[in-house]
């Protein structure tokens, strides 16, 4: 199957021959697009706040190599280490998440960030997502295969608790991702179909509840359903950008939309891609995300350890869902949702958290021949 020279038993050598090199390649390609788009989209945002034009680009060029190192480092780990790492990250980020209510910085009406000296600000919820996916995968797998430990109950409690914290922030987009990841894991672990159906209905009911509970969710839905009812400035400008870009784009640096969109370098980075590089590049980026997601899910399904299958599934779903939600918001397929595009949107927390997520994913989707007992 894999030609491993007998004399190459080093960690790196083993890693190289067992890791999912296609996914790794796709991730690196996504990062390259991220560099390109940050250079294109962030200077106007920096100029708006009166800073050096390339301040965001420079910072992102610090974050990305760091993220790459973290990702590769984690991908070297064994599944057991991944589980332990997830536990540590989870505990740490839950503490920080709770701390946002006390010492958080309020940005645009939500307390999601914590100021860390030297790192400006950190968004703990970004780190909760991947670690929670791994932990709940382990709990579910334990219940399912070992029939010991109240894994289902514990994972329900954990996810419920995290969701409560996220809703309080409020960070609805993040809650949707966490809930969806857990729902997929439950589905994969063998939830009866009627429960799955019921869960889908309950999820829809939750959305309706959010509509009535949170005014900003309501206004976004209203504007999505009836574009004339309110200010759709970002989305309209974004659509205009795609229209301007057409098939091959206006060319790098030729875009105008980035000067008008406040979030052109973060949530609406695809609009800049659409305008300056065109549909072809957008579809390439979309294909890369789809490729990594689906390939990882496929590899997860071939695993012999249920924990690995569930954890890899959760991480792949998180990665793919975040990309899908971000892009769908940009093109008005779903109501606008504050969600970063993995490795492409500007932001240190996002890049680092995604590095942990993808690092664990790469580690878990390695060929684990003979490693089952190590789990």
């Amino acid at each position: 199957m894999i030609q491993v020279p007998r004399d190459d038993r080093s960690v790196i050598g083993q890693w190289w021959w067992t890791v999912d090199r296609w996914s790794l390649g796709a991730i690196l390609a996504i990062m390259a697009f991220g560099v390109m788009l940050t250079l294109a989209a962030s200077p106007p945002a920096a100029e708006r706040i009166g800073a050096d034009s390339f301040i965001f680009a420079k910072r992102q060029f610090m974050f990305l190599p760091l993220a790459l190192l973290v990702m590769l480092g984690i991908s070297l780990a064994s599944p057991r280490h991944v589980r332990r790492l997830a536990l540590v990250v989870f505990c740490g980020s839950i503490v920080l998440l709770a701390a946002t209510f006390v010492i958080g910085i309020e940005i645009k009406g939500a307390r999601r960030w914590i100021s860390v000296p030297g790192l400006s600000s950190v968004q703990p919820s970004e780190f909760v997502k991947p670690s929670l996916a791994v932990i709940s995968a382990w709990l579910l797998a334990q219940s399912r295969t070992e029939r010991r430990a109240p894994g289902y109950l514990m994972s329900t409690v954990l996810v419920g608790g995290v969701l409560a914290l996220l809703v309080m922030q409020p960070d609805l987009g993040m809650s949707v991702v966490v809930a969806s990841v857990w729902a997929v894991q439950l589905f994969v672990v063998g939830l009866p179909m009627w429960v799955a159906g019921f869960g889908a209905v309950a999820g829809a009911a939750g959305m309706v509840g959010a509509y009535f509970l949170f005014s900003h969710v309501r206004s976004r839905f209203d504007r999505f359903l009836d574009p004339t009812s309110g200010d759709n400035y970002q989305v309209n400008t974004s659509l205009e950008a795609f229209m301007n870009g057409s098939l091959f784009g206006r060319g790098p640096g030729e875009g105008t939309v980035k000067a008008q969109l406040p979030d052109a370098h973060t949530d609406f980075v695809m609009a800049v891609a659409g305008e300056e590089f065109g549909l072809v590049v957008c579809l390439m980026i979309l294909a890369l995300f789809a490729f990594v997601t689906l390939r990882s899910m496929s590899r997860a399904s071939k695993e012999t350890s249920l924990f690995i299958t569930l954890a890899a599934t959760g991480l792949a779903v998180q990665f793919g869902l975040q990309a899908a939600i971000n892009m769908a918001s940009t093109i008005q397929l779903i109501p606008a949702k504050g969600m970063t595009l993995p490795f492409i949107s500007y932001g240190g927390s996002s890049a680092l958290a995604m590095a942990i997520c993808v690092g664990m994913l790469l580690s878990l989707t390695r060929e684990h021949a003979g490693l089952r007992e190590a789990v």
Partner: protein
Amino acid sequence: MRLWRKSASPDPAAAENAAAGARYASAKERLKGDAQETARQRLMIASVIFGIAFTAVGLRMGYVSLLRDGAEPTQRVAARGGSIQSERADIVDRNGAVLATSVPVMSAFVNPHLLLDPQEAARKIVTALPDLKYDEVREKLEGDRTFVWIKRGLSPREHDRVNRLGIPGLEFQAEERRIYPQGTAAAHILGYASVDNTGLAGMERYFDQQLQSGETVQLSIDLRLQRIVEREIARAVQKFSAIGATAIVMDATNGEVLAMASLPTYNPNSTRTLTNEALFNRATLGVYEQGSTFKIFNTAMALDSGKVSMTSVFDATSPIKIDRFTINDDHAQRRPLSVPEIFKYSSNIASAKMAVDVMGPEGQRAFFDKIGFLKPVTTQLPEVASPLWPRHWMKINTMTIAFGHGISVTPLHLAMGSAAMVNGGILYQPSLVKRTAASDKGRRVIQQKTSVHMRQLLRLNAVEGTGKNANVPGYEVGGKTGTAEKPGRGGYRQKALISSFVGAFPMNDPKFIVIVSLDEPKGLPETGGYATAGWVAAPSVKVIIEQIVSLYGILPGDLKEGLPPIEIASTPVPAPVVPAPVVPASIRRSPGDHRKALPVRPAPGQTAAAPGPGVRRVASE
């Protein structure tokens, strides 16, 4: 936890059979195997759903990029950091009426390098903007430049027409344009600003920094009164075929200019066709020999010295011959005259004697220096002229200056000095911006009792002297005429006159100074062929005073002594019985704008709200 599916196998019996014989370990293996099988199936379903979602995103991307609307790509002007200009502030009158404001407009420019066919483009542009000339536009478009303005400050209609041309390389820049909503009103005070919003004249220039930093300038001008004054002098200019005119209404008690007009005038909204003549502000830039109105200052100077009293007599029996000049009287009485008679008959001979006998050249010069007639007026306009006066101030100069020749000052000097002579002796620098209390405390230049005598003299002149045509019954108007011959080549031109009238009222405690001056008026049969001030300027002063009292709701009874001083109302006073609109509709303020709707003070025995209608009519007729 019965909810969870225990086995993937459709046949529980088979699973049990299989597990029955196996060791515990293998049963566990079996369970794991089942779980893996379930997971594999479920993952397949999840992958398909994900695949559908990604496909949907991709399709939607294609749709919005290529198919949506089928419209042309829209072009937007990207906002570069800090390029948005701050709006130039308004200039408003004393009641807040907007005299100058800024509105956002679009300006068209072209990058000629992007044009496919400059001649074709020029032809199209000229059809959309007919006021441009084809040759000029084509020359611009064929030049080797990357930026040329086509037209700045397009109207929305023009912007639409140009935009519809769809010429590549032709773009728009958002700018702001200065608008003067009152047209020609107060043009010389406001001045105007360039297309780049730099003040080039008037208040726009004087307060350029302040306006650019967004701070509104409030003038002392009352737009309603300004309109009245402008209309009246325009009428006088037409009637007497004058070449120009100027008028000033000043608050004698603090130096605020309430109205100031100069003809010919211009419209600051269309500065392209300006002529120097129209731009010239006669009130502050025109230095003229003022003629007999200077007798106000000559008499005040003499009385204030204490060497002359109201009963002093000066001989005006025969003309004075000095050097090669002869000083004569227009209304010669050929006898000794008392001071009131000198004033009433406007005797040049007696005035000259008074100046020489009492003050001498040095004293006279010191007096005119004291009342600010030897240097430019200090006010909020860049356009102020220096007076002309003799460097060697000798006896002959003293004599002619006594009746207003040999010295040239601006009409604004005249208003400033006259105010000081009648308001109790305090000189205030003229102000074109609304004064806050005590912003200029003024400077005493003559004694209180001298000022009282001056009031009496001016009132006398309006009752029995040359100022009769300015008298408004019931309002105690006082005034002095001044008819000066304009200097020409080799002497004075007898037919070219500057006819001025200095009016003030109410003379028991003057509040208003009204000056009207006509340049080269021609006599009419009804004036007996005279073009002197008493015939041509005094009637205009009368009309203006009539309008003032109706505008500010001043009643004859308001003028009695011992009442509080007159205030300038910000709103016209509605006539309670006969709703006679004495203020033209165009300048009346809306009812919602009423701030002080009451007459300034009630007459004795009357309430403010119900003055007698007959009294009101005096003012409006």
